[in-house]
Every structure is written in C-alpha cells, then in structure tokens.
Symmetry: C2
Amino acid sequence: MTGHVPRHAVVIASGGLDSSAVAYLLAAQGASLSLLSFDYGQRHRKELQSAALIAEELGASHDVVDLRSLGHILGGSALTDTTIPVPDGHYSDDSMRITVVPNRNAIMLSVAAGVAVASKADTVAFGAHAGDHAIYPDCRPQFLEHIARTIHVGNEGFLAEDFQVLAPFLNATKADIVTAAEELGVPFKQTWSCYKGGDLHCGTCGTCWERREAFQVAGVSDPTPYADKAAGERR
Amino acid sequence: MTGHVPRHAVVIASGGLDSSAVAYLLAAQGASLSLLSFDYGQRHRKELQSAALIAEELGASHDVVDLRSLGHILGGSALTDTTIPVPDGHYSDDSMRITVVPNRNAIMLSVAAGVAVASKADTVAFGAHAGDHAIYPDCRPQFLEHIARTIHVGNEGFLAEDFQVLAPFLNATKADIVTAAEELGVPFKQTWSCYKGGDLHCGTCGTCWERREAFQVAGVSDPTPYADKAAGERR
C-alpha cells in the first residue's frame, strides 16, 4: 500500500468484499471513516444494505448518493437495465463488457472527492483490484494516477495538503483480498457480490464465480449461502 | 476553439449565458446536441427551466441528473445551503469562495462522459471561461487537460476514437461570450444567471454583477429584467 495512513477517509463502499476489506483495513490503521455508497438503479440493490451493515459494524457514517436518474439516462448496462440479462459463467472479456457502467469509477471518485473537500478528509479510498484490470479500464493503476492528479488540480486551495486517492488492493488478486479480509475480521456473511439481485447470491453470475473462486484460492471457508450450491463443483 | 467540430456533443447546460452560448455555437457548427443539467439542490433552480427552454429552442434532447442527495451530503455552499447567504457585490476571491460547490466540474464532466460513452457522443462540452479561473480551480485550462486525459484513460476501448472535452470559451472573457452569443442568436431573456433563486435576477449578487458588466463591456443591450434596476448605476 502506497500513500500515508489516513486520518479521515471517504471510502466508496459497495457492500462487496473488496470495498469492505478496504474499510476494515483503514479502520485497523486508526482512520476515521465516512462510507459512501451509490444507488444508480442497480438491480443488486441489496449491496446498499450490506454497505450500511459494514458501516454500522465499523461505527462509521454512511451516506447513499442517489444517482438513479443517471441510471435511467445511461441505460444499456446489464447492471441497471433489467431487459439485459446478467451473464452467467466465469468472468471473461466478452461476458463482462455488458456489466460496464460507463465511467463509473470516475463519477464515484469525483463525488467522493467533493465529499472529502466538504468534510476536510485527507483520503478517498476504493476497492479496485488486479482482477478488474482486464475489462474495466477505470480500475487500472494508470487511471488511478490520472484521477488523483485531476482531483488535486481541480480543487487547488480547497483540499487537504496531503490528500490522496488510495486503492490499497490495486495490485492484489481477489484471493489476496479474501486472505487480508479474514485477518481483518471482515464479516463475510454481511458482504454482497452478486449482480442479479436475488435474496441469496445466485452462485452462477460472473461476480459470484469470482467470489467463490477467491475463497477457494485463498483457502478460506466461504460462509456465503449460494442459491446454486453445486455451481462451484460443476466448473 | 481547439479540437474538432463535434458530430454529437453532450453539453453541460446550466441555463446560464456561458453554457447556452456553447450550445448555440456547437449547434451552428452542425453538431447534434444532448443537453445535460444537474439538480444539486441549488436555490437558483430556475436555471433548470432555462436549460430546458434552450434545449427546446435548439431541438436538442435535455436530461436532468438529480444530484439532490449529494447536495445534502456536501452542504456548506451558499448555492445549496439556504442558511448561508449568497453574497452581494462584485466577484472577488473572498465573497466567491462561499459559492464553490466542491469538485463540481469534475463531477459534472465525469457524468457527462458516462453519458457520452453510452450515447456514442464524440464530445463533452462545458462553459468554463477566463473570468472563473481565479476562484474556481476546476475552470482552469490545466484542469481541463487533466480531466480529458482521465476520461480517455478510464474509458479506453469504450469511447469514440476522437473523443474530446471542449470548453470553447476557456480563454474568453464573459464580455467575449456575450458578443459571440449575440452573433449566434442566443435568446438572452431565456438564460438565467442569478444565484439567489428569486423570480427576477436580483441584480446585486456576484453573478448578476458579472452578467451586467459583461453586457456593458460588450456594448450589447441587456434585456434582463433585474429586481434591483439601479444596482448597475450605484457601483
């Protein structure tokens, strides 16, 4: 992890494994936390409840930015448009492109930076990791460098002097995150990954595959109740 | 104006002089336009109606992104927090700092870039001008360069190849914009600048001063009905 230990971090919290691990990591370092979630009309809205639970566990504040009107304007992603099916099967470039919400991380990080300015936080943090690099250009190290510089330039004179954008797991695998999260005491059962939005994790969509695989590779017991319990064995 | 003539531009439209002039300029160049406004709980919500009228005049689409929940979270600006008075008098660093909405242009441009990706637009345009540089760091040329590069890097493989962020009046004065707007046929009476949100332009807040002065310097007749008609003469 590069950067300094945060005093006060605005953490983009999706309620998933990655951002929850980021929140627990920074809390363990003694940072004061403001969790920020985004409602963009995603069918997997259950993740917003998970983010609220994680914030409660950590004694952090939690705000939800309502971007549903933008979800309507953007359309065209399987994550927001219920006429487009969420693809089943393993992550791959072809199936995952339909789960791209255009410019999502830039939007969320820009909003988080605004909140950081308003609350005098010195850090904005998010859960990008190496597994996202192939398909999501806004999860790559190069993007992080550019957005951080843009935030600095665009808020000159208003930002904390040592302001930073942190992605502590930027070069980690999802399995690395599970390993770290277990050590940090992340309540796995309260995190939500599935893109489909059912009552249980479906077990078959790309993010469910990724989640199951990460636990397997990390050798950590996966407490997630999946709707399709056998999917992991059928691969 | 640098950059290429747009085929399809997403224009950030506040309903004010500057962004209306941008829309009229690009329309005159033959671009197809999508106007995008932001409702962040500004007390001068009348500008949203002005933006809709401008879109109608140009036969452009118009979407409003509802960011009111963010306005609540951010707080602390005279533009959104009704407990903070909008300062009267001429633009100056001290009085204008209270009208800064943190990271506003980065947020709006990031959203507009997402809309551009979704709609395959080749351009995002906004109305920054030289008069804003002193107090608003996110209106400066350096910021424009950085945000454009960030959008390119963050949307690699998803953006139009010749995608550009345009601020045609970046180095123009407000008076230059009035001159250009008159040539372009911008319906001045339908534009809205005042930050106070009354039925008429107040004539005394910073943006009203700036508007009046721009017409005077440009030598263009100002058709705006101001609540305080005499303010211009009392300076």
